[in-house]
Amino acid sequence: MSADAATLAAAVARGERGARSVVAEALERIEAGDDAVRAFYRVDRDAALARAEALDARVAAGEDVGPLAGVPVALKGNMCLEGSEAHCGSRVLAGYRPPYTATFVRRLLDAGAVVVGMTNMDEFAMGSSGENSAYGVARNPWDPERTPGGSSAGSAAAVAAGFVPLALGSDTGGSVRQPASFCGISGFKPTYGRVSRYGLIAYGSSLDQVAPLARSVRDLELLFEAISGRDPLDSTCIDDDPVRPLEGEGLAGKRVGVPREYLSDDLDAGVRARVDAALETLGQLGAEVVPVSLPHTEHAVPAYYVVATAEASSNLARYDGVRYGLRAPGDGSLQGMIAATRDAGFGDEVKRRILLGTYVLSSGYYDAWYGRAQRVRGLIARDFARAFEEVDFVAGPTSPTPAFRLGELIEDPVAMYLSDVLTVPVSLAGLPAVSVPCGTTDVALPVGLQLVGRRLADAELLAAARTYQEATEHHLARPQGVPA
């Protein structure tokens, strides 16, 4: 879409533009472009148009239909909307139609948004490239030979390709921030617990957060306000009101800490140059940019992959062929049916992570692996807490490289895991973080600046990111063929 969500919603609410015309435009763009991008595995054309027409009728009757009036939104394939297939990129959930709607999806609909379809993703959100999908691999609109990032691959690609102004992804270890960075858009992982997880199909429950993607921080704020806030259906959801955007300037007089561990020699030179320039801009906007240290950064990837896979091995125990999804008969016994279903239903990366998680939780290995990883997680959270005694925000690159080529890392799980080094520490600590575009490399690939805030300081963080964004034009750059 050429306009942002805030502009579209205002036009629809005032009756200047019909929701039907907005949604029809999104559907046309998807139809014209998604054969190449493969962002969606399912487009709900008729339902979306019918809903848009119903919204138009309500607007005509003088009703306020909400702050996202008529705005087309894409949902990641792990999100429950009653009756809409959510297979999580997995064969094991083929044909699964949730009998209920997630709290955050319900809130989107209550705010007037129109769900146009479900997007491709790494199976059960396990991956950093979107390639671990049983249904289709999304491509980066900036370069179709490259990954849009993962695991919210299709959601990020759909926004970057101009199909929809807003999409939801989920971020467990960086699955929204890294694709936002690779696709030249904005992506925000809220403080853990800000958005209810009721209706988000679980991967790592102590890490998973529903996370918005958009072209601008202002749109992220709009979407975040609509979906955040207390929910009695999720006991880990923070007992607080929806988070309203902070008006005004967000950087003057703030201290921004740059972790020296995030600027290692392994950084791609193009990323380094764009991020250095962005840090300079933060200074010009009135922030004091100072070095800080997060000494346990190098331990974050192993700690994350132990904690996340342990939780995944437990969460994914539910896929046993009994209640939903695939059932393979096996040898005809109950145990045989369960084992055969899981073998046929899960892809390689999911099997690797279930195995790893089962191993680190198993008798004799628990203390050395899972117990230790939890303590390292505590040390990583303490690193951030100490840094935030000195600074208001932490800043650095979102990813050490721009988008890599499809196929480049898929055969090397360790290298793929290590690419998450700059996003997983934040996830372990449960802090809010946003990735905003800060330019492109010499070969025209987007680079993301990651800003991290204190726990619960989501609104302050977004205001700072918005201030940076509105003083720069990086978020206005478009891939070739996508209108501005």
Partner: protein, 98 residues
């Protein structure tokens, strides 16, 4: 038998994953490489560090023990691969066909 492959087989059994010989041969060395890369955790002094089990900061609270509407049986069973009356159908576990 390669010990990495054997570890994968043993762990797969714990995880109720039926894996083929070919899968075990492929996953064994990968598994070993991943664990080797993660051994850096063992080098860290975690004495005195508190285990962080969650990031929510919220107290888990129980709601009042009152009856509330819940998912109707037909909706709950709507995705079942096999339904028998108001139950999920599974292979027999005692007697019968095994």
């Amino acid at each position: 038998m390669d010990s990495d492959v054997e570890t994968v087989r043993r762990t797969a059994a714990l995880a109720r994953l039926e894996i083929t010989d070919e899968e075990a041969e492929r996953l064994g060395p990968q598994f070993a490489r991943i664990l080797a890369a993660f051994r850096v955790l063992a080098s860290l002094d975690v004495e005195g560090a508190e285990a962080m089990t969650h990031a929510s900061g919220e107290e888990s609270v129980l709601r009042a023990d009152e009856e509330r509407p819940s998912l109707p049986v037909d909706a709950a069973l709507s995705n079942a691969p096999r339904r028998v009356d108001d139950f999920y159908g599974v292979p027999k576990t005692i007697g019968g066909d095994g």
